[in-house]
């Protein structure tokens, strides 16, 4: 099956607002519906090098997985006793499962508005009703405290290193480490990437107090 031109731009646009994993699953479902596993392989061959998370998720698809594994229980355990959670990065499937549970536990949730790509933040927040507040790099430290946690997305671990979004580097500094109770990395990919992790950065796993 020949895939339409411009699919890469469409994927990039979607991934900016839905997250690399969520966009990958969405594209894979649509492509597989039209052309089966052969089309999934074509998609991986065409876009996998540009979007390594898509490459990894396509591999999972071809191994038989059909949906992302989203388990919020360890996250909730790591956030126990917290009053505020700062989210760094977007993964629609994962945040849709996590945010209502955090709010249910009485934890205020804020989302850091920072991305290397164009994101319609108003629309992102509208998906959480009026229950998630927005913050940015100049003000997020106002959320700091002994009962505050930061949660960021991690894209696969390799040895002692993990891959994160560049936003994490903007947030994670020596001062911030001391200002928040926990720094939680949530592995949303759960498998190593085969190709060069473009769009992501490698950081030591020891940056996090919890890696789940």
């Amino acid at each position: 099956m020949e895939l339409p031109a411009g699919l890469g731009q469409s994927f990039g646009y979607s991934a900016a607002e839905l997250g690399f994993c969520a966009a990958s699953w969405l594209f894979l479902r649509a492509v597989a519906e039209q052309g089966g596993d052969a089309a999934v392989e074509t998609l991986r061959d065409q876009l996998g090098r540009t979007y390594p998370v898509l490459d990894a998720v396509a591999s999972a698809w071809l191994e038989g997985m059909r949906a992302p594994q989203v388990d919020v229980a360890p996250l909730l355990a790591a956030c126990a006793g917290a009053r505020r959670a700062l989210l760094v990065g977007i993964e629609a499937d994962h945040l849709d499962a996590l945010v209502p549970r955090l709010l249910g536990e009485g934890i205020d949730v804020a989302l850091l508005q920072y991305s290397l790509h164009a994101v319609n933040w108003g629309r992102v927040l509208d998906n959480f009703g009026d229950r998630v507040t927005a913050t940015d790099l100049t003000s997020f430290q106002g959320l700091a405290g002994s009962r505050s946690v930061i949660i960021t997305m991690v894209y696969g671990a390799q040895g002692h290193n993990v891959h994160v979004l560049p936003a994490w580097l903007r947030v994670h500094g020596a001062d911030v480490r001391a200002q928040f109770r926990s720094l939680i990395g949530w592995d949303v990919l759960r498998r190593p990437m085969f190709v060069y992790p473009r769009w992501l950065v490698e950081v030591p796993a020891s940056d996090f107090t919890h890696l789940l």
Binding site: S10, L26, Q34, G129
Partner: protein, 446 residues
């Protein structure tokens, strides 16, 4: 022309040209021009600043601010995002249906609320869809162009849709129901003609590679981007209810009662803002369109100063003294109004030409003159990308969205990209305006 007429007209034209040539300084330029006009008018004995300010149509500014705030309440209810998603769903990822549904949606919305606000919220959804459809430059230019013109037509369809109609309503030239009954049909006709020409003759989508996968993906992604976006019914239902009551009052309450259009608008918006008091207070403090208010205030001052010199009256006398039938005078006036709007935008040209329209309305059916003028101003607003505020805003939003074609080339929406669409729209709307005015004149009892 007297010295006062020359100087004050030169100041007005210089300010208008300046704001058209340097749009980034447009408010500063017209505010400075208004200050100089007041100064010159005082020195030349034309009138004091107090006298000029006393003639400003404050009712129009009140309605403009009030309806802008009403739009902001609807923004807070997420109405526009949901409408955009509905238009996106209705289009089913089919490029021609995208043009059709987004144009229809913007036409309807622009008739009721501030089209700039609506456009600001709907365009990102449309731009996302264009990216997902793998649009090329031609398709982007025509789609965005048609949507902009649909906004202008929607704004001209009702007395509360846009500034020119508000000015007619505020000046007492036309009453709400009469304007609505006479302006809505020709604007709908113009939109229909535009869509027929674009979808059947121009066919901007013909070079797009359409596959079932593209259509499916565009729908799936749009759904995912808005997966949990819900309409705030507790806000939107009472707001639309109050808007409905306001429209009823505008239609039913006679002008002689003293309960004027702007008073109805003022009270209605106060009720809407009180529905959620904290939101209302925040909107009042932060979301009043100060730029538009200052711009129009400065225009009214400059036009008011020129009016006090008697120039507009002389122009009207010259026009009515032309050695042709009044009908031809009207058609020439409408064409001139359209072209002036294309150059100077709707606010200035409407404010300047209304005086002449009043003179023509003494000799011809008032409805033909005023509705023809509103439609001609709408045609002029659609001529160039810079003729209406929505154009540069759409340009900026498109650049910010970073659209690219299949080859990775950036897709733009600039002056030249819009020009073919604008010319098509101008010819259609101006043609409808003149034809409609002609029919009204011919149908009127002699």
């Amino acid at each position: 022309m007297s010295g006062a007429q020359l100087l004050l007209t030169a100041l007005l034209i210089a300010a208008l040209l300046g704001q058209a040539l340097v749009p980034t300084l447009r408010v500063l330029l017209v505010i400075a021009g208004a200050g100089l006009s007041c100064f010159a008018a005082t020195l030349l004995g034309v009138g004091t600043t107090g006298q000029i300010f006393a003639e400003i149509p404050w009712d129009v500014l009140i309605l403009l601010v009030g309806l802008g705030l009403l739009s902001e309440v609807l923004v807070a209810s997420r109405l526009f995002g949901v409408l955009a998603l509905l238009a996106s769903r209705r289009s089913r990822g089919e490029p021609r249906r995208v043009i059709l549904w987004f144009a229809l949606a913007m036409y309807v919305v622009s008739g009721l609320v501030n089209n700039l606000t609506a456009l600001f919220l709907v365009l990102p959804v449309l731009l996302a869809l264009l990216q997902l459809l793998g649009a090329d430059q031609r398709y982007v230019s025509w789609t965005l162009g048609v949507v902009l013109i649909a906004c202008n037509l929607g704004g001209a369809a009702t007395p509360i849709g846009d500034f020119p109609a508000l000015l007619l309503l505020g000046s007492g030239a036309m009453e709400f129901p009469r304007y609505l009954a006479h302006a809505a049909p020709p604007t709908a006709l113009a939109l229909g003609l535009l869509l027929v020409v674009v979808l059947l003759l121009v066919r901007p989508e013909r070079a797009l590679a359409r596959t079932p996968l593209t259509a499916q993906l565009s729908q799936a992604v749009m759904q995912a981007l808005h997966r949990n976006v819900r309409l705030d019914r507790r806000l939107v239902i009472p707001t639309l209810g109050v808007l409905g009551v306001m429209v009823l009052a505008w239609v039913a309450v006679p002008a002689r009662s003293g309960v004027s259009a702007e008073l109805i608008g003022w009270l209605g918006v106060a009720v809407v803002l009180s529905l959620r008091a904290r939101l209302g207070e925040r909107l009042l403090r932060t979301r009043v369109d100060v730029e538009a208010v200052l711009f129009l205030l400065a225009l009214f001052v400059m036009v008011g100063a020129v009016r006090r010199t008697g120039l507009f009256g002389e122009v009207a006398r010259l026009l009515t003294a032309l050695p042709v039938a009044p009908l031809w005078q009207l058609l020439a006036f409408l064409l001139l109004a359209g072209l002036l709007t294309g150059m100077f935008s709707a606010g200035p040209s409407m404010a300047a030409t209304l005086e002449v329209a009043h003179a023509l309305a003494h000799r011809l059916p008032a409805t033909a003159v005023y509705v023809g003028l509103a439609l001609s101003v709408c045609a002029g607003s659609s001529l160039f990308l810079t003729a209406a505020t929505s154009g540069p805003m759409a340009q900026a939003l498109t650049e910010r969205a970073g659209l690219q074609d299949h080859g990775g080339r950036p897709l733009r929406f600039g002056f030249l990209n819009f020009l073919p669409v604008g010319l098509t729209g101008f010819v259609i709307i101006q043609g409808v305006a003149m034809l409609y005015a002609l029919l009204l004149v011919l149908a009127a009892p002699s």
